[in-house]
């Protein structure tokens, strides 16, 4: 190894093809990785502070503004938490509709990440627009797949970004049976396109890089987890959502405007598609399982660079599941259940495209929010990202800086990090000095 490569700094001041503003800093001294920072400098927006004093029905619309890429995740976690506080359970056709719109968000978000944000790295392009100069049909397929997801969001939510139709207890308006059935045709095309996507990404070349993560995801008795379940891990965690804060601790580090999460007594863990997949392979639809097998994925994938394949498998699942639910849909009598407020604390956790998103609210008898806590997926993955980078770089100290920098960016993009989300949950308690 040339001496200048034994001591150097790998640095990206503004990460591209991620949502939000972050930077990366890796220091190598004497042939050892001495420091790794995923720096989140996106300014905080203080949601948890200004939710205090708002009405319990307002959290759905307000928290969706944390993230324009996964607003449904915020709306569903908030609605679940409020319904939990008020002792109401939404099931039947309203539950199905929630799953369908959430499938729409998975399709939109995964297609965005697979085609526009991540694939260019594997093929050596700076962007999907560059990729399209050589492979226009492939990028078109990705855009149309994304459009199919957005179509579901718009049909059930009114629009793609910050949908307006979700409320505590259900929806403002539910579609007629024929309105929803009309969504099936584009989804059938999308399901085929998703299968093509799995084949396409499975042929990319992946660095040999397996990590022994503790993976955490929801687990439901019968469904591949989206809107509910228990929290389970690959190392035996099995808790109700309301116990989340007993097992997860958050710390504030100087280089990040987002809190780092860790499992009490064990440390780093991983959330997102790889965790969902590893813990719920048996809950995937037969078609999605078959696609995974064809792509050469086992029931557990530990190489974060292959998360793009897992995301593609989830694209197949989301299309398949939405189609199944659309087929059995009968318009419910009411668009929402009554959810009268009561003084209580409620917990909600759903599977955002990037992993579990936890909300907790304490409300008073009139429904006013007294306290709010939100833990987004990217702040839970920060430690895993930094640990990946440290190991990845340590094994590749010979790489020239340009190649090393690009591959490190790719390693960060493995997580589809949503920095806007992570930052906006800077939640801090008053420290008594």
């Amino acid at each position: 190894m040339s001496p200048d490569r034994r001591t150097r700094t790998i640095k990206v001041d503004a990460l591209a093809r991620v949502e939000g503003e972050g930077a990366m800093l890796i220091r190598i001294a004497g042939g050892r990785v001495s420091e790794v920072q995923l720096r989140i400098y996106e300014p905080p927006r203080f949601f948890e502070a200004f939710l205090r004093g708002r009405g319990y029905t307002e959290a759905v619309d307000i928290t969706s503004r944390i993230c324009g890429i996964c607003p449904i995740a915020y709306q569903m976690s908030a609605a679940n938490a409020m319904e939990d506080a008020c002792g109401v359970r939404v099931d039947g056709a309203l539950h199905d509709l929630r799953r369908i719109i959430y499938c729409g968000e998975w399709i939109e978000s995964h297609a965005l990440h697979v085609y526009l944000l991540h694939a260019p790295d594997f093929l050596g392009y700076e962007s999907a627009v560059q990729l399209a100069r050589d492979h226009a049909a492939i990028v078109q397929r990705g855009l149309q797949l994304k459009k199919a997801g957005n179509g579901l969001m718009a049909l059930l939510g009114g629009r793609e970004v910050h949908p307006i139709n979700v409320r505590v207890g259900g929806f403002y308006r539910v579609p007629t049976t024929s309105e929803l059935r009309a969504a099936a045709e584009p989804l059938k095309w999308a399901r085929d396109a998703a299968l093509e996507t799995v084949r396409w990404v499975s042929r990319f070349s992946f660095p040999d890089f397996e990590q022994d993560y503790e993976m955490v995801a929801l687990r439901h008795p019968s469904e591949y987890p989206i809107t509910e379940g228990r929290l389970v891990s690959t190392r035996g965690l099995d808790i109700a959502v309301r116990e989340f804060a007993d097992h997860v601790i958050e710390e504030h580090v100087p280089h990040s405007n987002a809190l780092h999460a860790a499992i009490r007594g064990r440390g780093t863990y991983l959330v997102g598609p790889m965790a969902r997949y590893a813990l719920n392979f048996d809950r995937l639809s037969p078609l999605a399982r078959e696609a995974a097998r064809e792509a050469g994925l086992g029931p557990v994938c530990r190489n974060p660079f292959q998360s793009i394949v897992v995301r593609a498998v989830e694209l197949v699942y989301a299309c398949d599941e939405a189609l199944r639910l659309i087929e059995r849909y009968e318009r419910p009598d009411r668009p929402a259940l009554e959810v009268p407020p009561r003084a209580a604390t409620g917990h909600g956790c759903t599977e955002a495209p990037r992993g579990i998103l936890y909300h907790r609210y304490t409300i008073d008898a009139s429904g006013t929010i007294l306290d709010a806590k939100i833990v987004p997926p990217t702040s839970q993955n920060q430690k895993a990202i930094e640990e990946d980078l440290a190991r990845f770089v340590q094994d590749r100290l010979d790489l020239p800086t340009d190649a090393m920098t690009w591959q490190c960016e790719q390693a960060i993009r493995n997580y589809d990090p949503c920095i806007s989300c992570a930052t906006h949950f800077l939640r801090l308690e008053v420290e008594q000095v």
Binding site: G68, I69, V161, L426, V430
Partner: protein, 261 residues
């Protein structure tokens, strides 16, 4: 002598404090994105590309509000390098939901929120881009509407003003044939004072407008508040209704202040 090949206009997309949803709207132009990329050079758009060019830019789209001293400086530099600068969305045009901090006693607010203030730099107010630099056009909405975004892009690329009506959501309801939720069902609705652009989405889904496009041109907010009172909405309810994603827009700010205890 043959003229040099006509240079494509250079487009840049910038982010400040925001949720990313408005710049995502550019990528949500699924049918138009590749043709657009043929018409313009995407010179800076970090969410989409790691390749960046320093400028100057013909058109800069700016998402997000100014909440740090660093960002206040950054927007001045972007302005200097941009021929036209268009702000997109409620954060950039009004300060966004993060402008709710503007109504609080700052010290108290910070003491609630910060564990380690020394790690974080933030201003005590969230302000729209136009408070800092000259803005050529403001496109409203939380989020912006993609049809309107396309109109703005087309207009600037052809050197004309965008055709974005400044009337209220009420007009959109009438056009869409939506029965008035407030008159027919007594549902409080901000439509009469809210800028058009969404296509009357909320009333079409049986709910009142919540004002995510901000104030229309010369809104009569006081009159609407009086109607809301008749429907049983309290002062506190009025304050909260006017203080969401466009809380810092002058007309909504003033109206909310009128109902403060």
């Amino acid at each position: 002598m043959a003229r040099a090949q006509r240079q494509k206009p250079r487009l840049a997309v910038w982010k400040f404090a925001s949720c990313d949803g408005c710049q995502l709207t550019v990528l949500n132009l699924e049918d138009e994105l590749l043709p657009l990329a043929g018409e313009v050079e995407i010179a800076h758009f970090l969410e989409a590309s790691r390749a960046t060019a320093r400028g100057p830019y013909d058109l800069s789209l700016v998402e997000g509000s100014i909440t740090t001293a660093h960002d206040a400086e950054r927007i001045r530099q972007i302005r200097e390098r941009s021929r036209f600068l268009v702000t997109i969305g409620a954060c950039a045009t009004a300060g966004g939901i993060q402008a709710l901090r503007n109504f609080k006693d700052v010290k108290e607010f910070i003491s609630i929120v910060y564990a380690r203030p020394e790690y974080i730099a933030t201003l005590d107010r969230s302000t729209p881009i136009a408070d800092h630099v000259q803005v050529d056009f403001e496109l409203r909405g939380c989020p912006i509407d993609r049809g309107q975004l396309l109109e703005v892009l087309t207009a600037f690329l052809h050197g004309r003003r965008p055709n974005i009506p400044a009337h209220s959501v009420c007009v959109e309801c009438k056009r869409r044939g939506v029965v008035c939720v407030m008159v027919a069902r007594g549902v409080p609705c901000l439509g009469p004072v809210t800028h058009a652009g969404c296509g009357a989405l909320c009333p079409a889904h049986d709910r009142g407008c919540y004002g995510c496009f901000g104030p229309m041109e010369t809104p009569n907010t006081a009159s609407l508040s009086a109607w809301w009172r008749k429907l049983g909405v309290t002062d506190d309810g009025l304050v909260r209704a006017f203080r969401t994603f466009n809380a810092n827009a002058p007309e909504f700010r003033k109206e909310s202040e009128r109902h403060e205890p």
